[in-house]
Amino acid sequence: MSRQAKRGLLGISLVLPSFLILVFIVVLPIIGSLKESLTNDGGGYDLSNYKFLFTDKLMRSNIIFTLKVTVISSLLVLAVSYVLAVYMRFNNGFAVRWIRRMYMIPIFIPTVIATYGLMQLLGNHGWAARILYHLGQDSFPRMIYDMKGIIIANLWFNIPFTTMLLGSALSSVSDAVIESAKDVGAGRLRIFWRLILPLTYKTLLVAVTFVFMGVIGSFTAPYLVGPNAPQMLGVSMEQVFGVFQDRQLAAALAFFTFLLCSFIGYFYVLSMIKEEGMRRS
């Protein structure tokens, strides 16, 4: 066997275990649920479950609601995290030291406990309402059992990790680059748009992928603080599967959620391939 072939074989055998795990844990279940989702009541195969997904008033509003929550949450998380990360990168002092110490805390608090905490804080008779009441404000907007509650919960769960991700990307932007840009007379905004953003763009994309997928499939917070209708897809899926016991429809919902995620994943992979291509050439 030639040296080349041996190296090739070694490469394949190194990749094979993870490839097989991927096949058994991800690919086969997806194919299984696709098949399940195409099964109709009579046992035959057709698109009736998907048709129901997009024609039923309730299901349609669930899908729209989920997309709204996901897009708003992702944008807010990115904006807040980016500002926080940039602030921590280019400033120093008391405030930054404390933010650095504290911002990771939410990662260590279990989802259920954090959600109940939020309910205590933002509920109609919660702490926030009581404090405002003593400050002379006697009306408090509805946060719990509402879209706002889910978005706030998503911010809590996603900002720490995203900030960490963006923070590490920003720390790899070298001071020398920024100094030299300043030397030739670039303003702050110009440095940000021309240097910092392009240099961290890829990590930003990774962060979007993580937040988007995390939010779209979330269950605990939407279940506990979300409205009864419309629901997020995760909650609806549980209800359709567990309560209505309509396995085919639940599979269709799951597959549709998977499609939404792979849509975002597509852009991520695309940019990775582009990057790789640039390095080659």
Binding site: K57, G123, N124, Y223, N228, V243, Q245
Partner: protein
Amino acid sequence: MLNKKKALSLTASLVLAGAVLAGCSSDKKAESAADGGGNSTSAPAAPSTEFTFYYTGSQNVDDLWKTLIPMFEAKNPDIKVNPVYVASGTAAQPTYDKIMAAKQAGKGSGGVDLYESSIDDVTKGKNDDLWDSLSDGQIPNLNNVDQKTMNDVSNLAVPYRSSAVVLAYNSDKVTAPPQTLDELYDWIHANPEKFAYNDPSTGGSGSSFVITSIYKFLPEEAIHNSDPSMESQWTQGFELLKDLGKYVYGKGIYPKKNQGTLDLLASGEVDMIPAWSDMVLDQIAKGQLPASTKMQQVTPGFNGGPTYLMVPKLSDKKDAVYKFLDFTLSPEAQAEVVNKMQGFPGIKLSNMPQDIQESFKGVSEGYRTFSLGDLGKDINQRWQSEVAAQ
């Protein structure tokens, strides 16, 4: 260099082989587990019998059995109970399916020797011929149980405890609680956003409110009818619920789980909710609900009723299970039901100690037993699209 490479590829192939084998072995394990149920029939009787008990419910049910099982085992050292707790809600259905599937596949009772569930599973199992018929010959303490309740289930199940949905209210705010269903609806209209019931698909108390409201317009005997033809008569009830939506908490917010509404009552956001009597009593005792919380049953009553224990017909450990059931129905075990989870005893009150008899005067009356079979699922589905999403 070559050695290193060899070592690498060896490791890689070992990992691969390991992964493949792991896949196979887990299959084998599953098979042998399934065989286990069948094999033990032919095996000679072991000196100690171990049987498997599947039960479902809220945490308080698990706590109860964790108390009762050691008590039983201390008295019967030759019998070991293997408890399997499946969390309430979605998990009960798979257990029933497991027993049914094992029967159809000719594999005995699927490793389930005793099963706890509601009246709906008793009825379903009656039609599928799954449950063993029980008599006081095998279980002497069955004599303690009200014969009427046993007739209702054709002796196929043991009603070992019961609970009822009642109105729980804050007596500081509500001085004259509603006595009838119609008075309750009037109260809800007169006190907007001060009443809440939970999403019926997430807990029995909300479900009871919904079912009672729907069957209010139907003849009395309809609550025992699980025929899908009844569904056409639900419309009036759903109209009522839709209309109530504007007057309940948050103009149409239905918290999740039985506990969701209890939390609202505890924080003073609402003044009245439907709730399980055992949960209310328990939480008043623990100080989780204010002491001003009181309970009231309306007429016609919300649903309630016993929780049943069923023995799968094909179980091969029946003798041990009978002994366990006999113990469960003893006054000693029933006292735990009362003390531990504030439930109503499953046996006739006259068999209970005097002080317990006193404490239950009038409380355990007034509930109705609904058996709708699979119709409950359809009610939840229709509620979700018509009431929640209106």
